[in-house]
Amino acid sequence: MRDKIITAKEAAAMINDGSSVMVGGFMANGAPEGIMDALVEKDVKELTVICNDGGFGPAFDENGVEVKGPSGAGKLIKNHSVKKLIATHIGLNKQVAEQMNKGEMIVNLIPQGSLAEMVRAGGNGLGGVLTPTGVGTEIEDSELTLQKMTIADKDYLLMAPVKADFAVLGGTVVDKKGNVYYRGTTKNFQTLMATAADTVIVEAEKIVEVGELDPDMVMTPYIFVDYIVVGGDK
């Protein structure tokens, strides 16, 4: 069995300027914070980030002093590491709108259910996602919308599959083979992203021996996981 365990720094070393990166987590819940920190430390630039949201931005006091750091993809945003963000919601991180309005970052907003299914399609070999969501809206003109179709008198948008060079995810319990269990609401996009990237790196809160995870509790089978980073409870 190949040893998949690496450090967050080694994970960041693989991800270069210009890479496309899926970042797990929903409003940073479940996000791989250690890998985010290592990417900021490396000062990677020009990323295309695919994430449910822009994470949380930093919080400032009345004097403009940062009193709480960003979390999730918000760390990459704050560091100006992101050239393009494909997400469903950015309202809880003001820095996204700031950089977008300054023309520093392109933001491509996609309905949440569509984006989830588009990532799943990317990882599952499907040619697209046929959803009624977004019909009659600006989504019809999205660069990720392939065409509009009418089937049995109902209108649908055919959305493109989404893939990436990397997926960086946060797992609750990971065994040494790479099987992942995501507890509670930390599943979100992570089970889907694990299937849709060339290289998948999971930051584990807890690492266990092979056989310790109930086979029915595994939400990402080990064959999808290339590397494991020891994270710890955040």
Partner: protein, 220 residues
């Protein structure tokens, strides 16, 4: 007298039926959960992956792995379940959510709704709203009838649409309007509000085609 938001939330809650699966948008819609009628058992869905969500968690109840779609720690009821975003939106898109309650910037008489963007001013993203509006069996808009006196109900929305022909009912502090083939049909008026009042606050015809009931109010 009860706060306007509480009045709206209380009235929306009367639409709940036993066994309903319900998704409540952030803000005012969240308050609906406080007024679930006696004997009615509903299940709250949170689009980030919960069926059976309870209220906001505090203190020792906080479980870092359990948040709502705003990233806030919440509690869950016994029998609740967690799942990924594909399953969650399969539930929503597949018609398994009986009712969703959300706010709006504009609604028109065809049931078109604008709720997610003001071009040049605000573009937080649609999140799960477009899927909910498209997939939920019943879409209720819960909001104040006007925005600083300006109407929010129109013949035709002018802001970018979040969903087409989707809204079934609008509940405001002034009354209850259903959207039918005729357009806005008035069903209930709040105490002291007249048909003329609600028409004056609405930028489209408000039709009166049947009995108008008095909108119920929360107990003090």
């Amino acid at each position: 007298m009860a706060d306007v938001k509480q009045i709206i939330a209380h009235r929306v809650a009367q639409e709940l039926q036993d066994g309903y699966v319900v998704n409540l948008g952030i803000g005012l819609p969240t308050l609906v959960a406080n007024y679930v009628p006696e004997g009615i058992d509903i299940s709250l869905q949170s689009e980030n992956g919960i069926i059976g969500m309870a209220g906001v968690a505090k203190g020792a109840d906080i479980d870092k792995d359990i948040v709502n779609s705003g990233g806030v720690n919440v509690n869950v009821y016994p029998g609740a379940t967690f799942f990924d975003s594909a399953v969650s939106f399969g539930i929503i898109r597949g018609g398994h959510v009986d009712m969703t309650v959300l706010g709006a910037l504009q609604v028109d008489q065809e049931g078109n709704i604008a709720s997610h963007i003001i071009p040049g001013k605000m573009a937080p993203g649609m999140g799960g709203a477009m899927d909910l509006i498209t997939g939920a069996k019943k879409v209720i808009v819960a909001m104040q009838h006007t925005q600083k006196g300006a109407p929010k109900l129109f013949e035709k929305i002018s802001l970018p649409a979040t969903g087409l022909k989707a809204v079934n009912m609008i509940v405001t502090e002034m009354g209850v309007i259903e959207i039918t083939d005729k357009g806005f049909e008035l069903r209930e008026l709040a105490p002291g509000v007249t048909v003329e009042d609600i028409q004056a606050a609405t930028a489209a015809p408000v039709h009166v085609t049947g009995e108008i009931k008095e909108m119920c109010m929360p107990e003090e």
